[in-house]
Every structure is written in C-alpha cells, then in structure tokens.
C-alpha cells in the first residue's frame, strides 16, 4: 500500500510542475490562438537563466529567481514583437512552423552560449526528504511542487481579478469587441507571451533543479502536450487537472508496469490515456468545443 501511495504522492508533485508548464501553453493559446511549440525551449532557457545568475554570476537564490522571471518575460516580449506580430492573420500552419523553427533556434543558441554539457544547480533546499506518514517524497520534488502551485494560483488570480487579466480574457473572447473597449489587443498578445514564457521558465527551473540541465531539457515539453490537450487548450483548470492526471499515470505506469513492459512505459502511458480520453471528449476535459485544424 505504501508503494501505491508513494507513487501517487510523487505523481501529484510532478503533476503540479506539469500543470505550471502547461499553463505556459494555455496562457498563450487563450489570448492569441497560437500553440507555442517552443514552450519546451522557453523552459530550458529559463533554467539556464537561473544557472547563469546563480552559478556564473554568484547571486543568491531569490534575486536569481526574480531575475529569471524578468528575463523570460523579456524573452516572450521579444519573440512576440520580433516574430509573431508579423505573422498575424497568416494561416495556422505557418505560425506553427514558425514556433517549431523558433524552438530549433533557441536550442542552438543555448548550445552556443552555455555549451551542451550537463550542468547542475547548487542544492537549493534542505536535503532531507519530506516524510508524511509512510510516504517519502524527495525534497526537490516537494518544494518544486510548492513553488509550481503557488505560481499557478498567482496566475489564476491574476486572470480572474486583475484588470489586465480581465482584458486578456475579453481579448480571447472577442478581439474586435475588445478593441472597441479601448483595449489594445496587440499589447494583450505581448503580455500573454510574456506570461506564458514566465510560466514555462519557472517550470524549467524546477525540473532543472530535480534532474540537472542540458539544452535538450526542452524535450520535456513533449510530455506536456498530453497535459495540455487532455485538459483543453484554453482552460487553466484543465491545465491543472491534466497535469495531475499525467503526473499520476506516469508514476503508476512506471511503478507497476515497468517489470512487464520493456522500454520506457513511463513516457508512453500518458499518451495512451490521452487517446482514450480524446475518444470520449474530443476537446479535452475542459476545452471549448471549437474546431481547430492543424
């Protein structure tokens, strides 16, 4: 029994981080209807920013953390202004190709700047694992979960109550009408990209803290796809629930099926569940029922 509980607990911990990264997708998709295939690279760059500030420049953890948020916001801002603004009104497939290209560019840049060597953060949290009854969670997982959840809550509140959040939702709902309210729709796009980049970067930082960083860290973005699609591309609640489902399924599959199935069943399982859920709910668990062709 304790094995099962431990798998669940770890699944929830990882799921929280997945939820945060999924939020990176959702924030951008909701406002601009663009699926950002470079989200994984945004994560990776975020993790490298942290490494740069903390290890290379020797800043303390909390200022580095804040600088990462600032830096990734700037990254999102720059990407939107320099590239995606010019793609407004182009077919979806072109925009998708642009974001895929962007991911390659960011990957290449990261290798140029930080080399492709494996790097580690200095220990950020106390080493001792967190023990709850019989369940043991590694401290990096636990604190990662706490930070991720805090970030998700902040984003959700921002969207719900802040003026800019309401304006962003209005933009997502009806762009023309938002324009007629005096909301600068283009600014909202930029804000969405910045916020999406921040969410992804924080996720990258947490994952980097757990497993170390490498330019290919962005591949985790692939695991996030089932999360986003599962929850529905335009739903914050969906991102959170989807994150937990994928985290838990992944851990259970890894724990129980590992002996019977050769290969990486841990990474495969979420996709199986994804297909099953999409068979029943084609728009994801919380998605709006609209047809999006890719």
């Amino acid at each position: 029994m304790w094995f099962f509980l431990e798998l669940i607990a770890n699944g929830i911990a990882v799921g929280g981080v997945y939820a945060l990264i999924a939020l990176g997708f959702v924030l951008i998709y909701k406002a601009t209807s663009i699926i950002n295939f470079a989200t994984g690279e945004f994560m990776m760059i975020g993790a490298y920013f942290f490494y740069t500030f903390m290890v290379m420049l020797g800043l303390p953890a909390i200022p580095s953390f804040l600088l990462v948020m600032l830096g990734s916001a700037a990254l999102g801002f720059a990407v939107e202004r320099a590239i995606l603004r010019h793609m407004l009104g182009q077919p979806t497939i072109s925009i998708v190709m642009v974001t895929i290209g962007l991911s390659s560019i960011l990957l290449g840049l990261a290798e140029l700047i930080w080399t492709s060597d494996f790097k580690n953060f200095p220990p950020l949290f106390p080493r001792a694992p967190i023990i709850m009854g019989e369940v043991v969670i590694r401290s990096n997982f636990f604190w990662g979960f706490v930070i991720a959840m805090a970030a998700v809550v902040v984003f959700a509140l921002l969207f719900k109550y802040a003026k800019v959040g309401v304006a962003m939702r209005a933009t997502a709902n009806d762009q023309m009408s938002a324009f007629s309210m005096g909301i600068n729709v283009r600014t909202m796009f930029t804000v969405a990209w910045s916020m999406g980049a921040i969410a992804a970067a924080l996720g990258g930082l947490i994952i980097g803290n757990i497993g170390g960083i490498q330019p290919t860290l962005g591949m985790v973005g692939l695991t996030i796809f089932p999360v986003v699609i599962l929850g529905g591309l335009d739903s914050i609640a969906g991102a959170v629930v989807g994150g937990f489902i994928v985290g838990i399924v992944e851990n259970l599959a890894g724990g129980y099926l590992h002996e019977y199935v050769p290969g990486d069943v841990k990474e495969l399982a979420p996709f199986v569940v994804l297909v099953l859920i999409l068979l029943i709910k084609p728009y994801g668990l919380f998605g709006k029922e609209e047809i999006e062709r890719l």
């Binding site: 304006a167 209005a170 023309m176 009408s177 324009f179 007629s180 309210m181 005096g182």
Partner: protein, 264 residues
C-alpha cells in the same frame, strides 16, 4: 463635434462601398443614419471608429474630424481614449465574462476607480435588469439584456460621442421601444452625443433630431427630423405609409410605379 467629409471607402482595394459621404453630428444631439441593408451604414461607422483596416478596408478620399482633430490613422483603442465609443452591431458582449467583468472592460481606459463604481450604479438605475444578473455570465443573458449590457458598457467609458450600430437588431418591439427611450434619456441626462445607425426608421426618428438617409454608399436625403417625417418619399419607403398618410395597402400592386424622387 463630429464631421465626416466626403469620404470614399474601398474594401480589398476593389469594392467601392462609400462614394463621397458627408455627415455632421453636432454636440449634444442625436443624429440618425438610416438606410436599408448594404447601404453602407455600418461601413460609415467603422470608418469613423477606425475598424476599417481590420477588415481590409481603406479610406481613399476625404477626412474625418472629431472635436477639431483629424482622425486619420488612429487605431480603435486610441479613439476610445479620445471619447469616441462604438457599440458594435450584434451587441458583441464578452460571453465568457460575467456582467460585472463586461462592465469593467467598458471602463478599461479610465483610471478613476471610485467614479467607475458610481457610474455602474447609474447604469443599474437605467437598466435595473442588469443588477440582478451582476455575477452571472453575460452569455446567459437574454438578447435584450445583452443590448442593455452593451450600452452600459459604452456608458462606463464616459464617451463624448456614442455610436450605436442597430441597437434594435433582433429584439422584440416592446423592448426596442424601452431601449430607445433610455437612449434618449442618456442623451439628455448624461449629455452624450449619439450617432444612431438603424434600419428601423420609425423608432430611430422618434428620438433623434436630425437624420441622414443613405442608399448605395451615398447620402440621398438629410434634414431635421420634422422635415423627414413629412417627406413623401421617406413616408412611403421608410415609414411604410401610403400617400394619404394612412397605412399602405399592398392591394394596390402598382406601388412600385412611383419612383423615389431622389433617384432621378
């Protein structure tokens, strides 16, 4: 306050929609812009509110002045800050947002939070129905309530000029009367100048002081409302009255024989 001078609008570089249209909206008045489908009424509004570029339209000639300022090249959100607010055709409320959030979007350009609250209360005194639905999603409101919300949203921006595009669209006659009653009140009590685009000539002329009648991208007739109401052509073609002033009978099939005088 607003003057549109001889504008020509072309869509997609090809389709000429407005062919030299001029109109004036004096401060504090309600001006009606009437015409049938496809006459170019909505295009006129879009030309004023800066929405044309978003629909591949372009003003190729003429200019638009608001409070002594040329509006050329300003984006819609900048025009809102100048006091020019358009209530779009078909209401266009944010369905996924609550009534409250919709209203606060209307006040997006304002900084004076305390006054916004007072203005919201004012909206509820005009439209008490909205108060009960304050927290519910705007998508679940009835058509009439949605129109009320759209007008309230405009009021919260504290515009100098409010442009209403077919506020009667898809509403029951009784509700239309109620809403136009309130539009008149808003004009008198808040001092908001109103430019009204309508197909329903009868109700539009009942609240406005001056009217323009459009056909095929041109103004074909304009004048103070009293004169329009007495004009035979307007009576026949827009108000549905026969020559004797009574209701027109469609038994006299020859009605098409009479030509609109402004065409010749």
């Amino acid at each position: 306050m607003l003057s549109v001078n001889n504008i020509e609008v072309v869509y997609n570089h090809v389709v000429l929609v407005l062919k030299g249209l001029s109109l004036k909206v004096p401060e504090g008045s309600i001006v009606a812009l009437l015409g049938s489908n496809g006459a170019g009424k909505s295009t006129t509004l879009k030309a004023i509110s800066g929405f044309l570029p978003l629909e591949d339209g372009e003003i190729t000639d003429g200019w638009i002045e608001f409070a002594g300022e040329d509006l050329a090249g300003l984006a819609p959100h900048q025009l809102v800050r100048k006091g020019l607010f358009q209530v779009m055709e078909g209401r266009r409320i944010f369905e996924d947002l609550t009534v409250e959030e919709n209203l606060s979007c209307g006040a997006y350009t304002r900084r004076d939070r305390g006054e916004v609250k007072a203005d919201m209360d004012k909206c509820f005194s005009y439209f008490p129905a909205l108060k009960d639905r304050y927290k519910s999603l705007a998508g679940y409101l009835s058509g009439g309530e949605q129109q009320m919300l759209a007008i309230s949203r405009a009021l919260l921006a504290r515009p100098k000029l409010m442009m209403l595009d077919e506020p009667s669209l898809g509403l029951a006659p009784l509700l239309v009367e109620e809403i136009f009653e309130i539009i008149g009140q808003i004009n008198r009590q808040e001092g908001v100048t109103i430019l009204l685009v309508e197909q329903n000539a009868q109700i539009a002329l009942s609240v406005s002081s001056y009217g323009y009648i459009m056909e095929n991208g041109r103004v074909v007739l304009d004048g103070p409302v009293e004169r329009l109401l007495n004009d035979q052509d307007v009576q026949e073609f827009y108000l549905g009255l026969g020559q004797g002033g009574g209701r027109k009978s469609y038994r006299e099939v020859k009605h098409y024989k009479r030509r609109k005088r402004w065409l010749s």
